[in-house]
Symmetry: C2
Subunit: 343 residues, 2 copies
């Protein structure tokens, strides 16, 4: 190791995968070293990563890139990337200084050189009177996703019927709480009794069901929403989306945020009920959170007071150490995690 | 026959159908008679029907009613209904007088008693310096459908790429011409060489293809839109919709207007590519023209001058006599008709 260099532990993608990910698809490498200075030629920032976030979209980057992508695809045999909270150790970028706390896209490693902070949407953390880890969740990308999808796309009104799938996840738990604060009736689906209990007793959902115990999603939705659904925040796609469409009310809105039920399939399931979108004049729109990052300050102005007053709660699942990442990421797809998953 | 009564020829639905309709599913009855006066107890209008319109949605009313419906379902063994142009023979309704020309939902028969003109959206025809038959098409429900879908839902901009399916039909031909007038690049699909020729040489589309000659809709669309599609006006659903989704550009818009490819199927085809709506932030919205009838005057103000200046042309397929209706209606599904189909 040269002077001023440190060993940099990294999470490496072994090979591109198909189907369900396994813990062994990722491994920890301690081979690399790096200097703790931004190189002369760069105007980036060098950070120490404090919290790294495991999010469902990362599964899509673990396969061979094909078609359009929203994130820089992973490379077989290289370090993976994702959202994190980090501390700036050195900066040649005018917007960031040594000592700043930031959140945004970073490497899944101890130290990262972020060469283009503008492109990676690196945000400076201004409010540190909340847990820093929140900036990987409720106050970061998932929080902005919930905010943009619910308020900007769904245009919710008091008294409307709201359904959220994957509702105990980072995005879903916040959507449900936003909906309650708006005076909506909210039901969520999740994949275990423990999560169903969390939805009702922790997040204040009006109803919840364990989708793994339901043979007929249409029947489950009719039971939970005898009057139908005005707003569906879709995190899962596939058969659940198809069943929700059957239960939409006139002028309903569906925000397509993720399709986690489909990410491990080679061919996505067909959705057969789109004709109902005509009968019911339903709006369906795909959401990518980047498009709404200009609203981040407005979002914080809404959410920070709610958090401080205890009107919004947040459940995280935090493990210690980079070594815990492979299992945590894989756990997102087996339902092992509860709440937001971080290292 | 009592005094003041006339024989009333009617088009009757023999029995509820499934699958493709046949001419023999409908028959002409001359059994009924009716008085040419609005009954004392009613505040409706009595009309003589002049033009009756065969539209694809009517297929949906020919099957046993199930789930949500936008129109009053047909009854086995009774007269069918649809859009028409008619002359008021007698009225007890304050908004209509004897001699008025009107368009709206009426019976498929020589004379109809329209008991609730408000509910049936009966419009008085104020401009008679265009062919009256236009009020079943370009100046009636299909015209308003094209207008609402294109301008109100799709929010088109100059230079955008627009695709229209069933483009030679009543709605499609107008959408294409609106798009050209807006400065868009427009391609249409249709089901014969004759229709493809019409699209390019009569309606001024930039491109067109015969979907029956294409094995791979995705490849056909990539050929026609190397830069992708900004706006899709969907009249057919199914496999074409699925292929279009693959070719949508960022922030594209899809208006779901009809799914004529699916109406004769017991179970609709699955659409597998919805994940692309997320990647590309696409908006998809179901359109029901009733919701936009308040814009009818605004619509006429736009379209009438275009028609008079020859900037919008319109192709109708008119047959003589109620007897022609069964074949005309069935023809909509075999591609026999060219342009708008009326009796």
């Amino acid at each position: 190791m040269a002077d001023g260099e440190v060993r940099n532990k990294q999470v490496i993608l072994r090979e591109y995968i198909s189907g369900f990910p396994k813990d062994s698809d990722l491994y920890i490498s301690t081979e690399k070293t790096m200097p703790l200075k931004v190189p002369e030629s760069s105007n980036g920032v060098l950070v120490k990563n404090l919290y790294l976030s495991c999010d469902p979209y990362m599964r899509l980057l673990m396969q061979k890139p094909e078609g359009p992508a929203l994130f820089t695809p992973y490379t077989s045999g290289s370090v993976i990337s994702g959202y994190g909270v980090a501390k700036v150790l050195d900066s040649k970028h005018p917007d960031f200084n040594k000592g700043d706390l930031v959140w945004g896209t970073t490497g899944f490693e101890e130290y990262s050189l972020i060469t283009t902070p503008e492109i990676e949407s690196l945000f400076k953390i201004e409010h540190t009177d909340v847990p820093l880890s929140y900036y990987t969740g409720i106050l970061g990308m998932p929080g902005m996703t919930a905010y943009a999808g619910f308020y900007e796309i769904c245009n919710p009104k008091k008294g409307e019927y709201v359904f959220v799938s994957a509702a105990s996840g980072a995005v879903g738990q916040l959507v449900g709480q936003f909906a309650k604060l708006m005076g909506c009736y909210v039901v969520g689906s999740a994949g275990s009794e423990e999560k169903v209990d969390l939805l009702i007793n922790k997040f204040g959902f009006d109803g919840a069901f364990n989708y793994k115990e339901e043979h007929d999603f249409d029947a489950a939705l009719r039971r939970c929403f005898p009057e139908g659904i005005d707003i569906y925040f879709d995190n899962v796609g596939g058969k659940m989306l198809d069943a929700v469409i059957l239960n939409m009310r006139e002028h309903g809105r569906i925000v397509l945020c993720g399709m986690v039920s489909q990410y491990n399939l080679d061919r996505h399931e067909g959705v057969n009920n789109l004709m109902r979108l005509i009968y019911k004049r339903v709006l369906m729109k795909g959401l990518v959170v980047f498009d709404y990052y200009s609203l981040y300050t407005k979002f914080l102005d809404l959410v920070l007071p709610y958090i401080k007053e205890g009107k919004i709660v947040y459940v995280e699942d935090i493990d210690e150490g980079l070594e815990s990442i492979p299992a945590a990421l894989v756990g997102l797809f087996s339902g092992r995690n509860v709440g937001k998953q971080e290292k």
